[in-house]
Amino acid sequence: MVKVALIDGPDSLTGSEVASRSLRKIVWTRLRRDKLAMVCLFILIALYLIAIFAPVICGLLGVDPYSFDKESISDSGGGPVGTWGGISTEHPLGVEWGTGRDIFAQLLYGLRISLLIATTATILTVFFGTVLGIISGYAGGKTDAVIGRTMDLILAFPFLLIILAMSGVLTQRLTALGVPDGNPSRITYLIIVLSIFGWPYLARIVRGQVLSVREREFVEASIAMGASRYRILFKEILPNLWAPILVYATLTLPTYVGTEAALSFLGVGVLPPDTSFGGMLGNSVSYFSVVPSYLFIPGVVLVVLVVTFNLVGDAVRDALDPRAGRV
């Protein structure tokens, strides 16, 4: 049967029904199967939309976070008039102690600020963590040592303390550098410190990944073709890092929301008249035994935000887990 020897032609594909394996498609197909994640994703998108359109929404409802409603608070003590922190048709979630500002509107604007800070800081963290991690992992030697020691240094700092201590002066420096005074520079400060103290974690992960990816033969194949360092780093290696980076990003974002809230709680938040979740929670401390809604409303929204982010992050992680489904 000579035919045996000659058949050497195109093969039939096996498992060709498996969906195309681009990262995006993998994540998306797997995510879509996860009902809970989809619900959370939906909530998240809704929250982002709410944040972006907060002024419009507040306008429609006739509330805004800045105007003082002196009628809604008592003349003695400054507490809200009415039960549950002064919940009324005018003020769907009540008013702030002492000023009568609308809690609902504050919440929406706080969401805006929280998301702005957390999202931007995440992007920066991911950027620096990735770039420095890749460089550190690929270059090795002295570069690696310098970046590594810098990371050690940063990780050894009690960062909350530093952020607290440095907020005033660094905000001023930023202003001196041309960042508009006030909230722009405060927010910038928060974004910067969160990124500065955040990147080493990702850089470590990325570095580790690079160390293993660069040992994979396709990198060598690329070198053997005569590829430039740029191509190797960013075309060959980087695409293989998206999974850990994406996972890290989705899990970092909620952490930053929480951290920003904690910092606001400790007084390093945005400037009045603006406020964020942490600021609202910090304010609540003096009153919550009398008006618990001050604690619960921003707290619950914050938790919902963080939980949904985390759930989506988890789902992304599972979707990207190479071992997933191998039970």
Binding site: M1, K3, V4, A5, I7, D8, G9, D11, S12, L13, T14, G15, E17, V18, R30, R33, A324, G325, R326, V327
Partner: protein, 351 residues
Amino acid sequence: MAGKANSQRAFLEVSDLSVQFPTEDGIVRAVDGVSFAIERGKTLAIVGESGSGKSVTAQAVMGLINKRNADVSGEVFFDGEDLVAMPEEGLRKLRGNKMAMIFQDPMSSLHPFYRIGDQLTEAVNAHEKVSKASARDRAIEMLHKVGIPAPAKRFDDYPHQFSGGMRQRVMIAMALINSPSLLIADEPTTALDVTVQAQIIELISQLQREFDTAVILITHDLGIVADVADEVAVMYGARVVESGSVDDIFYHPQMPYTLGLLASIPRLNQVPGDRLDPIPGNPPSPLRLPTGCVFNPRCVYQDRVTGDVCQTQRPALEDVGAGHQVRCHLPATERQAVADLTLNLLGRPSR
């Protein structure tokens, strides 16, 4: 043999064993109606391509498949007891005691954090109440048997201080320390160099003789099969497609896949530089086993079968001689002709 309900049961008799893993992508039929049997002191080799279900079969026999995430059905009679139906505790008592297993990768099969000696005595203590000292003596003796020089000294070493071949010897020592009557060796030499492989295979045969153990040797290397096996089961696509004595398989193969396998291996006793005769196509995914005969997409002989039975009907395991069974739709005459043709090509005598 397997399937003959009223005959005397063999020492180990596996009949119609199936293992399915439900996964995200669908149900993986890793093992699909596999049957075979083996007596004490004999060696059964299971050969087949990667992913054909060899390891899962072995683990199913050992009761190592986690029943929580897999469906195991069929029967595994070991010394008269059905292992599939047996509760976990009973299996545990058998494992490492009456039946033992060694694995493909000696590098990762030993716990990296515990001393060699402790891992060995642990195997003793799991089944017997013996004093520390006597467990130690037994372990050292076993290490000596598998050819570890200065076993008393090496007793306290960690696995990473051993070379690959040495580790595989330790694994063998661990498997045989309770004198099992069944040893399953899952590709015990794939990760080793040829020169070491030869040592290990030799060692297993030697110990098999000493303990009168039944050995199931899983491999994809037909050379090793030719070397040590008494019986051979050829697996393809989760099924046994041909089984029989080693001579049946090598000199009288009846299944096109077995033939293709024999034809495609480069051999030292072949014309150097000649073209090889590969089987076309690729092995099937266990997620989507072909309907009918699992080999049909790659089979070049199916045009010799009338109709589309190859594509639609699953062939039964058919007796074609004493203990020689084949799963193929080819008519007996055609099978013989095909076998002769190929064997001629290989330069072997046909029957």
